[in-house]
């Protein structure tokens, strides 16, 4: 940290100022002039929170994607299909049993099994042939999309939010001051906060597993040099299968999350594939912290964009991607 400040004094100053400005915007009561210029504080705060929680969802999808890519150098373009299928599984389980938690567990397991099958039956047969793998996964994603359309139809499915999560809660953040001097606090949907906390926990758990456990060490070694790792006697194929299962399972969980606070329907697969591609390009292919940062940036850009420049909101996301590709093509937090 201190070395970063020494080396990039100006950048550190800019980042520090940015953080201070953001903190002021979030915590202070806005002066009337500012409200007139850019709208009410409630709108701004909600957009920021929405961006962060949406980032949580993007992180869940993209972390599996980036993990698989990092270890196997395999761009799995059927990742969006895994997300969508997880959503359908979650819907089926939650409407059959009425349990939201069970939907997560079932979606994780079922989609992880599909991931294992994909790895064993498809990717293992074309190891190291990037282009073939890419083409095959595009093909698979189209096949999966049609199969799911056939099985589930074009309807929108929503996973029932459990009763204790419906409705807003009051956050200790002031949005305005009434003329009586009474403070107005931000109301925010509880379910989004819970889901965000869940994805933070998963993110930290993944980071710990990768950096503090033996399996994590093997995976990291595999990312650096697969051949040498295999030569040391580690069963690399087993590691591949495990990582693929985990990555796919995370996509399945994300499907349940997406089905809860948005909805699942045909077309969501490509939308989330595109989102995770953008996220990992911005964050850096193969890096978990990169996926987190990328997801946060893209989530915030989408939500702030949809409020302040609605017409061009979609462009903002891709502008960020273009900028990153131009200035730092390996991604913001890529290791090499």
């Amino acid at each position: 940290m201190s070395r970063f400040i020494e080396r990039h004094a100006i950048w550190s100053l800019i980042i520090l100022l940015g953080v201070a400005l953001a903190a002021w915007l979030i915590f202070a009561v806005w002066p009337p002039g500012l409200e007139e210029a850019i709208g009410r504080k409630k709108v701004f705060l909600s957009a920021v929170f929405n961006g962060i929680t949406l980032g949580g969802l993007y992180f869940l999808v993209a972390s599996g994607f980036t993990l698989i890519f990092g270890l196997m150098r395999n761009v799995n373009l059927a990742h969006g299909s895994l997300y969508l299928f997880g959503g359908y599984v979650g819907y089926g389980i939650s409407s059959a049993t009425g349990s939201w938690i069970l939907a997560f567990i079932a979606a994780f397991i079922v989609v992880a099994v599909i991931g294992v099958l994909l790895q064993l039956l498809v990717f293992r047969r074309m190891e190291g042939q990037d282009l073939r793998q890419t083409m095959v996964t595009i093909g698979l994603s189209i096949v999966f999309a049609d199969l799911m359309l056939w099985a589930f139809g074009g309807d929108f499915y929503q996973i029932q939010t459990p009763a204790w999560l419906i409705g807003p809660i009051q956050l200790p953040l002031m949005t305005a001051m009434k003329s009586s001097g009474e403070a107005v606090f931000l109301q925010y949907p509880l379910v989004r906060l819970v889901i965000f906390c869940g994805s933070v926990v998963i993110g930290i758990a993944m980071w710990l597993a990768l950096n503090r456990t033996r399996v994590g060490m093997i995976v990291r070694a595999g990312v650096d040099d697969r051949e040498i790792l295999a030569a040391t006697g580690v069963q690399i194929q087993l590691v591949f299968v495990l990582v693929f299962a985990l990555g796919a399972g995370l996509a399945g969980i994300a499907g349940v999350v997406g089905g809860t606070f948005q909805s699942i329907s045909p077309g969501e697969d490509t939308r989330f594939l595109l989102a995770s591609l953008v996220v990992v390009i911005v964050g850096g292919m193969g890096s978990i912290p990169g996926a987190a940062l990328g997801a946060l940036i893209i989530g915030l850009a989408e939500q702030l964009g949809s409020v302040y420049i609605p017409t061009y909101a979609i462009v903002v996301t891709f502008l960020i991607m273009v900028l990153v590709l131009a200035l730092r093509p390996q991604g913001l937090l890529a290791r090499r």
Binding site: S46, G154, Y157, P189
Partner: protein
Amino acid sequence: MRRVGFAVVTALLLSSTAYAQDKIKVGVTATLEGTYTVLGEDGMRGHVTALNVLGKKIGDKELEFVVASTDATPDSAVRAVRKLIEQDKVQILLSPLSGDEGIAVKNFAKTHPELTFVNAASGAQETTYVDPAPNFFRFNMDGAQWQVGLGKYAYETKGYRKIATVGEDYSFIYTQVFGLALEFCGLGGKISSRQWVPLGTKDFASVIAALPDDVDAIYLGLGGADAVNFLNQYQQAGGKAHLMGGSIMIDQTILSSKGNAKNALVGTIAASGQADTWEDPRWQKFVKAYQDSFPPEKRFPSPSLLATNYYGSTMALILALREVNGDLSNNQAKLKAALAKIEIDAPNGKIKLDSNRQAIGTNFVTEVVDDGKGALFSKVVKVIPDVNQTLGYDAATFAKIGLPSRTVPECKKY
């Protein structure tokens, strides 16, 4: 050998022309992909219902239908129509479903003046109002006509004075807000903000947060997946405002969606080209035919606006074809003349065309009710016959208002 080959080819050609003579090929498009999938599917149900009721025979010829899928974007519609014409060699088009698609297909129709295009369900005003194509016929009303009566009901009966609108950012919803604003603002109501979201928006949380608190009602011009997502997130955010709905928002495509978010719509007022509970025998007969055509799990409890529109346009086409006995000679001149003057007894009221080949029909103001068993329906509040495209304004005044867009019309009396 070569001679044999030649003979075979000639025989094939002959047989295919003979084959073409007893078939009339019609291309149909529907949004079977993307945000409006459910709307496209129900549109096709309406189309099939019409065929079940009316049959496919035109004299001694038989109708053959080729279906192509679109995703509500104009380029997908043009691609589908072009494929139907060039590859499948269809002679008549029943297309498209959605607003922007309609404008694109109308323009494309001009490049094929010899063919006949019957609009399936699209409702942007521009399609038939600006530079209409002589071979494009629309037997459903446009989005503005479908809002007639809503502004008055909201202002006079419900007492709403100030509203905000949220709508999808494309021509059909512009047209709907246009119709609403002319009437509501004309009476003295105010629209304090108009928010536009891209078609296919999933995350409405910020849009919901930006809704003003000091309005009497919020008008929702959303459809398909967008509407369901909005309602779901609106419920999660604890929203409690009065709602008003556009024609594809208060529709079976949304009212019978899964989950409980739709319950926020009970009591919502809306206007559309149909009302689920209308007692007119023609409507009831259509509902029955729709229900009999599909098993309960493969349809909605009652047909959506899209099913009704597809039914109406299929019906108009078949009746006109029968009138000319399937005669498509001379660039289908007889069929076009028949379509232009035909008056159909559609399930949702009598429909005839104006000089731009745009429907003049009946409109319905509705309110959403729960039938007591958890199913939601739109109940008739008011039936307004003979609604034309200029909404009762004279042509010159109407032209001065401008074309529907994000900001047109201004909220004032014209």
